[in-house]
Structures are given as C-alpha cells and as structure tokens.
Amino acid sequence: MKKTYKIDVDCANCANKMEDAAKKTAGVKDATVNFMTLKMSVEFEEGQDPKAVMEQVRKNCKKVEDDCEIFL
C-alpha cells in the first residue's frame, strides 16, 4: 500500500535526512520525500497499519530534523 502525506521542512538536505529516517523505520518498504512539493510518499510493508507506522516515522524524522512536521 502506498500513501502520500503533506510535510513541512525548511531545507533540502533536511528533506533527504527525513527520507532516510522514514526508509529505516520498521514497517516501511520504501519512502520518498519531495522537497519541492513538500510531500512524503510512503510504501508500507504488507499487513502493517499505516497509522501506527507513520507515528513512528514522524518520531524518527523528528530525531534527525527537529524542525520538521508530517501532517498525518
């Protein structure tokens, strides 16, 4: 399953870091962050609850870039 979320982040490198952090989160198969359109699209592994996974993704993103937001 694939879902797209709106995000807010200030710099392009921070967006790259968020992408890395999201990719490393358990339950995420793949993730891309588009800094120009401020969107994160996440492909979940099968049988995962997107809501729970996204909470964790947000937590991990906040760790690498304090000043970011994912609108769930």
Binding site: T4, D10, C11, A12, N13, N16, E19, D20, T32, N34, F35, M36, T37, L38, K39, S41, K63, V64, D66, D67
Partner: protein
C-alpha cells in the same frame, strides 16, 4: 515573505546593526565580550538550540551543530588569543542565516510560480435550479447533469455542449494560444477557459475522472520519481559532510603534532584549529542539495507551461538523452480522421459530386460516409433520398432527387458494368456514377499533420539520430506517409505485439547511454509506450490507457512539441550539471585554500552563501522555456 521569514529578516537586520555599533565602541575585556555576544545570540540562538538537540539525538553531522562548533570555536580562539576579534564568528553566523533566508524565499517563490502555472483547478460548477444559477462543488455534480459556464469561467467537468457557442482558451492545458471554437454538439474538456459566450454543457464524466483532475493529479505527483542526478547528490551529501568534518579534525591535530614532534617547531595550535574551523564552515552541502531538485522542479514547471507534462525528473533526464524516436502513424503523424483529400476525373463540379455522395451515404454511420458528410458541410435533407440499397462490401445505390446515384468501390462499378478510372493515390476511393454514367471518384485519406514534417526536421536538428515509423496500416499508405514526413525508416502491417518486438530490436541496436522514445496515441500503443525507455503520448486525442502508460504527455497533438520537450530537458539537465560542477568545484577550491591558510572564515562563508545564491538563481532559469 511568510511570518517565519519576516522574523528571520528582522533578526538579521538587528544583529547587523548591533554588530556595527559595538565594533565602533572602544571596549575591552569582559564588557567587550558581553557586548559582542548580544548580536551573536540574536542571530544564532536557534542554531545553538538546534545544535544542542542534535547532540541529544546523536546527529553530529547536522549542519546546525557544525555551524555552532565553527562559530563557538572562533569565539573561543579569540578569547584564547586575547585578540578580542569576535566579529568573524558573528559574521559567519549572520551570513549563514542570510543564505538560509534567501534559499527559503527562493524555494517558496518558485513553488508559488509553478502552482500558479498550473492554476487550472476549477473551484465550482454552476447548476441551474429553478431559473437561478447555483454554485456547487464540482465533486458533487453527477454524470449527465447540465452545467452552465459563463464567459470568463473555467470549464469544470468534461462534457458535451448542448447549447450556445463560444471560443475557448486552452492555453493552460495545451500551451497553445490560439482559441478553439465550440458549439452545440461538440465535446469539451475541463480546464479550458470560456472566453466569449454562455455555454450549457451536459457532463459525461465525474469531476475526479475529468481531464483537469487527471492533469492535476499527474503534475502533483510528478517528480516524486527521482533522477539519477538527484540520487547522486543525496548520496554525495551523505558522504561529503562527514568527510569534511574528519578532514577538519585531522587538520586540527596532525600538522601541529608533526611540527612539534618531528620538526621541533612550536605547534601553533591556534592557527591549525582556525583552519579546521574554516573547514566546518564549508562543510554544509546546502547549495548542491537545494539547487538540483529546484532545477528539475523548474524544468518540469516550464515544460508544463509549454503544454508538455513530464511525470518525473527521471523522465526529464531520459528525455535529454533521447537519440532514437519511434512513431506510431495514425493519430501521431497523421490526423487519425479520414477526410476527403481529392476529387478526380469528375465530369460534374466538385460540390455536386460531394452533395450526391453525402446524400446517398446519409443512412450509413460508417467513417467514410461521415467524412463525406463533413466535406459536404451542409445540412442533409433526408427526404431527398429514396430507395437506399446498401450492398455490403461494395457501396450504396440510392435515388437522390429522383436520380439514380451509385457510390462505392471498384467492385460496385464492375457489378453495375460501369467503366471507371482507377486512382493512383493512396486511400479509400469512392467511385461515383449518376444514372449509370461514371462521373469521377472521391479520394478519402488520413491527412498528415501540418507540423509532422517540421517535427521530424526539428528532431534531427536537436540531435536525434534516427526516426522510425511503425504502423498497422498497409505498406502503400505507410510508405507514402513516410516519404511525406521524411522519417528514416518505416515498417508497416504490424500487429501491436510486432511493434513491441521492433522497439526491442531498436533498443538493442542503439548504444547503452542513448535512449529510445516511442510516440503514440492509440489504445494498442500502451504496451510499446511502457516498453520504450520513454513513452510519449498525444494528450487530447490519446486514449486514457496510453496517457497512463506514458511518461510524457503532449497536451496538444502537435508532434513539433516532441523536439521542444527534448530541448527543454537538455536545458534543464545542462543547468543541473553546471550546478553540480560549480558548487562542488568552488567548495573544493575553498577547502584547499583553507587548508593552506589562504582562505579565512570570511571567504569561506562568502563562498558558501554565494555559491548557493548563484546555484539557486541558475536553477530558476530552467523555468524559462519560451524561446527553446
């Protein structure tokens, strides 16, 4: 500027003014230190806080953290030297923030620019209820509803005009500035702007399935597919910052130790630590990381302004390397509609022949009879036609105004024992006989698009080595079209699966780094569109399946846009490479100069911010594509 940016600007100005003020105040010792710390904290407090958070989250290569170390280190050195020169550290912080502010402003601005470009989303639809117009959400309009579009409004949903006539501005969709005329009975696509008259439209699709929604969806989801250059930069940034930091650490420790132990000289710790701190200032990969996606974003935006939708930056990259272009014939190089293209050997005037032909064929809905009726161009009065006899596979015999008219192929003429003159042109021939006497024949054929020949020439001019046409049509027709438009190769009488095979064969023949594009519009083109390195679909006339399978969509059906799309992609990729080389080059030079102590922190921060500003401005250039 948004609130965040305004606040930042205020902080930068306040810090700059205060810095100027304290540098004129003749103070020394602790008081001097305290006074200088005021502008430093004003402009840099958020960086210091973020740095602290970074340490807590073990993000040591965070640029805030590096910036904090560089400036705090410079202040510490000034204290250690008792020089009291704090200006440098504050200036570094100040310029860093100026750079960040500029970047955020430029990115915000180009985001708005491009969303304005694609400002085709209709906000409402007008529905007539009890004689009054009511504005409703386009999402709520059901298929088959009657909607009203007033002059100046956007057409919200695809449909058929039932009443009224008007000119439509389709430039937002197609990049074509010439208005398109519509009247009752015509199909109309959403996203056009109604310019002159009131139109009543019966909707044929839901809003979500309408052209405008599909395009918006496509554009908004574009560029989530990243290009190789973007991946390269992301990987480079991941390695670059740690590498520079390790180099800085080595620079701070090794040379002093070597000087002290092996050369017996004083270690000069402060000089080498200063050079290491200069390294940290240059360690931020911002200029690179921002300019590459911004270039692609601007390139995709510029292309959509020209009526070319590109589904991702990776496709823009592939398009720029296209050296072979394979075309489908019908609907791509030709109009795909059959039209009367000639009347030959006629013994009565053209109008008369067309009139008889259109009337005789008026009962049929065959494409041939429709093109006859279109060529006739006047209302068909069916009461004039009697005794219509359709002879399957031959043609029709009917009485028009009491006169016997026969219209059909050679078989019909032979059947009626009427001598006829064969046509040497390619197409469908309708032989005509009136009262058993041959009066000439009408040639109906698919017409080559007006720009098809120019398009092939333009492709050659933009560096495409080979153009090929594949078609399911007969060899005679294919060869004629191929000669007319000037493609290098043509292969005819192909099944859809044969087309895939041919494309695969061409893909094996070409060199690895060169790419092959397939241009098509038909339903059976979807497999080939997917198989080619890059699939280009003709938009307005193309089928939904083809548009979905394609990577690039031409909004109007002009094949000339293919060459334009390639030129846009070349320009965009050119800018991307310029930025990569320029930004990495300047940073490397600064690192070398910094290591030898030629570049100080001032130069380092100017280089860093300057490179970013130039790279961002260069990236925005990709948006301007009119003259390409």
């Amino acid at each position: 500027m948004n609130k965040k940016q305004k606040k930042m600007l205020a902080r930068i100005i306040a810090a700059a003014v205060l810095l100027a003020a304290v540098s004129f105040a003749p103070t020394t010792g602790v008081l001097r230190f305290v006074l200088y710390m005021v502008p430093y904290l004003i402009v840099g407090y958020d960086i210091l806080i973020k740095a602290a958070k970074g340490i807590r989250n073990r993000q040591i290569f965070d640029e805030n953290f590096l910036m904090a170390i560089a400036t705090v280190g410079a202040i510490a050195l000034a204290l250690y030297d008792r020089s009291g020169d704090y200006t440098e550290a504050i200036a570094v912080m100040l310029f860093y923030q100026v750079g960040e502010l500029f970047q955020s402003y430029a990115v915000g601005k180009s985001r708005r620019n491009i969303s304005d470009l694609m400002d085709i989303r209709p906000d409402y639809a007008n529905i007539e209820r009890e004689g009054k117009l009511e504005q409703v959400d386009p999402d709520e309009v059901e298929i088959g509803s009657l909607i009203v579009v007033q002059p100046g409004e956007k057409v919200p949903i695809d449909g058929i005009v039932t009443e009224g006539s008007s000119s439509l501005n389709t430039s937002a969709l197609t990049g074509e500035s010439l208005p398109r005329d519509v009247s009752a009975g015509d199909e109309i696509i959403s996203g056009c702007i109604n310019m002159t008259g009131l139109l009543k439209i019966q909707t044929t699709k839901e809003f979500g399935e309408s052209t405008v929604s599909k395009i918006l969806d496509l554009v908004e989801n574009a560029s989530s597919r990243k290009s190789k250059s973007e991946d390269f930069i992301a990987k480079f940034a991941r390695v670059y910052t740690p590498a520079v930091c390790i180099a800085a650490l080595a620079l701070a420790i090794l040379p002093p130790l070597v000087q002290m132990i092996f050369m017996g000289l004083p270690p000069r710790w402060d000089t080498w630590v200063y050079r290491a701190l200069t390294f940290l200032v240059i360690s931020c990969p911002c200029a690179l990381v921002i300019s590459i996606p911004l270039s692609f974003f601007a390139g995709i935006g510029g292309a959509s302004k020209a009526g070319v939708l590109v589904k991702g930056s990776n496709y823009l990259e592939t398009l720029s390397k296209t050296k072979t272009v394979v075309f489908d014939k019908t609907g791509t190089l030709t109009q795909g509609v059959f039209e009367v293209s000639g009347i030959h050997h006629n013994t009565v005037e053209n109008e008369k022949i067309l009139e008889y032909a259109a009337l005789a064929e008026s009962a049929s809905s065959h494409p041939i009879s429709r093109s006859l009726q279109r060529a006739y161009g006047k209302e068909i009065d069916r009461s004039r036609v009697q005794d219509i006899k359709e002879i399957s596979g031959n043609g029709v015999i009917a009485k028009v105004d009491g006169v016997e008219v026969a219209a059909g192929n050679t078989k019909l003429m032979e059947r009626l024992h009427i001598p006829y003159i064969d046509c040497h042109h390619v197409g469908t021939i309708v032989h005509m006989a009136i009262q058993g006497e041959y009066v000439g024949h009408i040639l109906i054929s698919d017409i080559v698009k007006p720009h098809a020949k120019e398009a092939i020439q333009a492709l050659k001019a933009s560096g495409v080595h080979k153009t090929i046409m594949l078609t399911g049509d007969a060899k005679k027709v294919a060869d004629q079209v191929a000669a007319a438009v000037g493609v290098d190769e043509a292969h005819s009488e192909l099944l859809p699966s044969d087309k895939v095979e041919w494309v695969e064969r061409f893909m094996e023949q070409k060199q690895d780094q060169d790419k092959l594009a397939f241009v098509g519009d038909g339903i059976n083109d979807a497999p080939v569109l997917r198989r080619a390195d890059i699939g280009i679909a003709m938009g307005a006339m193309g089928s939904d399946a083809a548009i979905e399978a394609a990577d690039v969509v031409l909004m109007d059906d002009d094949p000339l846009k293919i060459a334009k799309a390639i030129r846009i992609s070349r320009k965009c990729l050119g800018i991307v490479y310029q930025n990569i080389v320029f930004a990495i080059g300047i940073k490397l030079i600064c690192l070398i100069l910094g290591a030898f102590g030629i570049a100080n922190m001032w130069l380092a921060i100017f280089a860093d911010v300057g490179v970013m500003i130039i790279a961002v401005l260069n990236a925005i250039r990709a948006l301007f594509v009119q003259k390409l």
